[in-house]
Symmetry: C2
Subunit: 381 residues, 2 copies
């Protein structure tokens, strides 16, 4: 096991009716701004719940944080926050609203331009922020990372090392209004987050392995049931908790991590607008195929413990595990091949060039270069 | 899934050589007291590491916190802390030193007598405290509970609702000096902590179930290996992390809990000095036998997923799971029957009377009364 430091101070407030606790959760003296997307929260009743919970509080609102939040939009929110001496931001929405809000919280507390904060990879100062999470997927509600897009150059970068959310409210009932595609992308995102932390170096931590497998098994079990019954409270609660636990540091104690699939997927989103979770469903099977030798032992363990694959040669078992992974993503209703999204050689070369120019060497062994990335994408044609 | 709130802000600093970071972890302006047991830390080198790490800091020491810490001893530490305006306590030792230190941290910040703090169940004010944990077992290094003994009346009470440790340093190498009996009791303690949170109401949370089973499987796997090789770093790291994760709120999100075995076990410790983990090995199989009907579904699941018991009638499978549990405790080198410890009817009646007098109704369904406790202990004769 590797040495590690773990600290995740976010208060998770989980369950039915918890949005009503908002006013007690936000510090009494907070100068508050609430951030939103484009109004889906007005259709599903979340906005009304928030307004009702905060009827005795003063706050300003910022609307219009888009999917894959644009730094261009966030700069406007930062300016608004600075003008109003905001010291606490509440994100009400999905992972994009919250990721954008993380940059807003850093931008308000810094003189740097927001994109420079993203590029520098962390922000020394930030004001506090919190969330009412409405789309289980990114895990952003209980971690210190965010992914921001610069629309003018079609670039998408992750940054971390920022404060954890002060609190996050997760009410599974707010997920009832999600579309089947949103749920599919959310499940694919959570599933892939786990694989990025699990399909790496073998024999590092028995419990981290078991916990990762436990989330994977749970997601595989609930996915078809949710399709059949998307308003089942316990199913949606399992889904919502799975998304949080898939990326809140709980399954990365003392183990190496990969994240090359995410970095490649971000490019597909930046260049072609593919929804984040969907992009991972396309890239991850390719990563498994190309990195098969390096991930050999872990792929074997994954196949046996998650898909009960015990017959055949080790190589055959691994191939079967990769096939089952791709079939799982497809069972969600997602495509898993670039050709299905009309993405071809030009994009593959663009991404490989970008990674080579940036000097990227990704993955648990820092060997996924632009050229390896090209092989991964070719494998996902 | 039940509604829940989760927040665990403890900083976990895990791995080889981490004690050297002590000075950076303790606030620079802290008025520091360090608490110890009886000197085993001087034999295993931990004391020297702590002294070396804090050579530029001023502090006072308090020695002599015993196993199952006595409120009579802790009152002396509280007085010493008050006299010296201590505002930060560092516990260096096992769960008893740390549990005692939790009461010290509360006692220094309160005018109440220490035993009144225990009986009231929580302390409104506490100074900060942290730990260098040397005996993986109680999970005290990352939770807000403690168990305190009043020697004069042979009473042992748990209390909670106190601050979490400011940080805890866990270096698996410090476990190399533990005796086989200490490791056995530590593994039994961690294993039973998981069962108290798992063998309850079925179908509450898929991931909590999987995570609990993941810790149980890991402990079962490492136990014989540690016996054969107690200086294997990765094994001891798995053991140390298992003990922490077994009782740091991570596997209790949205689920009911039992804890009747613990409450009964505390009595065996208070009345007969049985080591805590050992007391649980005696009581838990009895709890399973007596509560078989109530825990039916979960016992079946436990048997299948943890011990791979798939043959026979459901009742037979459950009996087999209970038998395997008792055999696991015995495989650690612990006795599992009261008669093996020369404990008889008199003690059973004393415990039943105590629970009836206190009006106890324990367990996930609040139905483990003094009379049920008597049946559990009779079953463990």
């Amino acid at each position: 096991m590797k040495n590690f430091t773990f600290q995740n101070p976010t208060k998770l407030v989980f369950g039915k009716g918890q949005i009503a606790k908002l006013s007690n959760l936000i510090p009494a003296d907070a100068s508050l701004m609430i951030t939103y997307g484009f109004g889906s929260v007005k259709k599903n009743g979340v906005y009304d719940q928030v307004v009702d919970a905060l009827k005795d509080r003063k706050y300003i609102e910022f609307w219009g944080i888009e999917a894959n939040p644009h730094v261009e939009t966030l700069r406007k929110a930062i300016d608004l926050g600075k003008e109003n001496n905001i010291d606490f931001v509440l994100a009400v929405g999905g992972g994009s609203v919250l990721d954008g809000t993380k940059l807003i919280a850093a931008g308000i507390a810094n003189d740097k331009d927001a994109w420079d904060i993203v590029l520098s990879g962390y922000a020394k100062e930030q004001i506090n922020y919190a969330s009412v999470m409405t789309v289980p997927a990114t895990g952003s509600e209980m971690n210190s990372g965010a992914v921001i897009t610069r629309a003018e150059t079609k670039e998408k970068y992750s940054f971390g090392g920022i404060k954890y959310p002060y609190f996050s409210i997760l009410d599974p009932e707010v997920t009832y209004s999600l579309s089947e595609h949103q749920v599919a992308c959310g499940l694919a995102d959570a599933y892939t987050h786990v694989l990025e932390q699990y399909l790496t170096t073998p024999n590092q931590s028995r419990i981290m392995d078991r916990w990762a497998e436990g989330i994977l098994l749970s997601i595989i079990e609930i996915a078809p049931k949710i399709k059949a019954n998307p308003h089942d409270y316990n199913l949606m609660a399992d889904y919502m908790l799975a998304a949080t636990l898939a990326l809140n540091d709980f399954i990365r104690m003392g183990v190496t991590e990969d994240w090359s699939t995410h970095m490649i997927g971000h490019e597909l989103t930046a260049l072609h607008g593919i929804t984040h979770g969907h992009s991972l469903a396309i890239v991850m099977p390719g990563t498994m195929r190309v990195m098969k030798e390096q991930k050999w032992d872990k792929l074997l363990q994954y196949g046996e413990r998650v898909f009960n694959i015990v017959e055949g040669s080790d190589s055959d078992k691994i191939d079967k595990a990769i096939e089952m992974t791709e079939l799982f993503y497809r069972s969600l209703g997602l495509t898993t091949r670039l050709s299905e999204e009309n993405i071809g050689e030009e994009t593959i070369q663009t991404i490989a060039n970008r990674f080579n120019e940036r000097g990227f060497a990704l993955g648990e062994n820092k060997n996924v270069t632009g050229d390896v990335t090209k092989r991964i994408l070719e494998s996902s044609r």
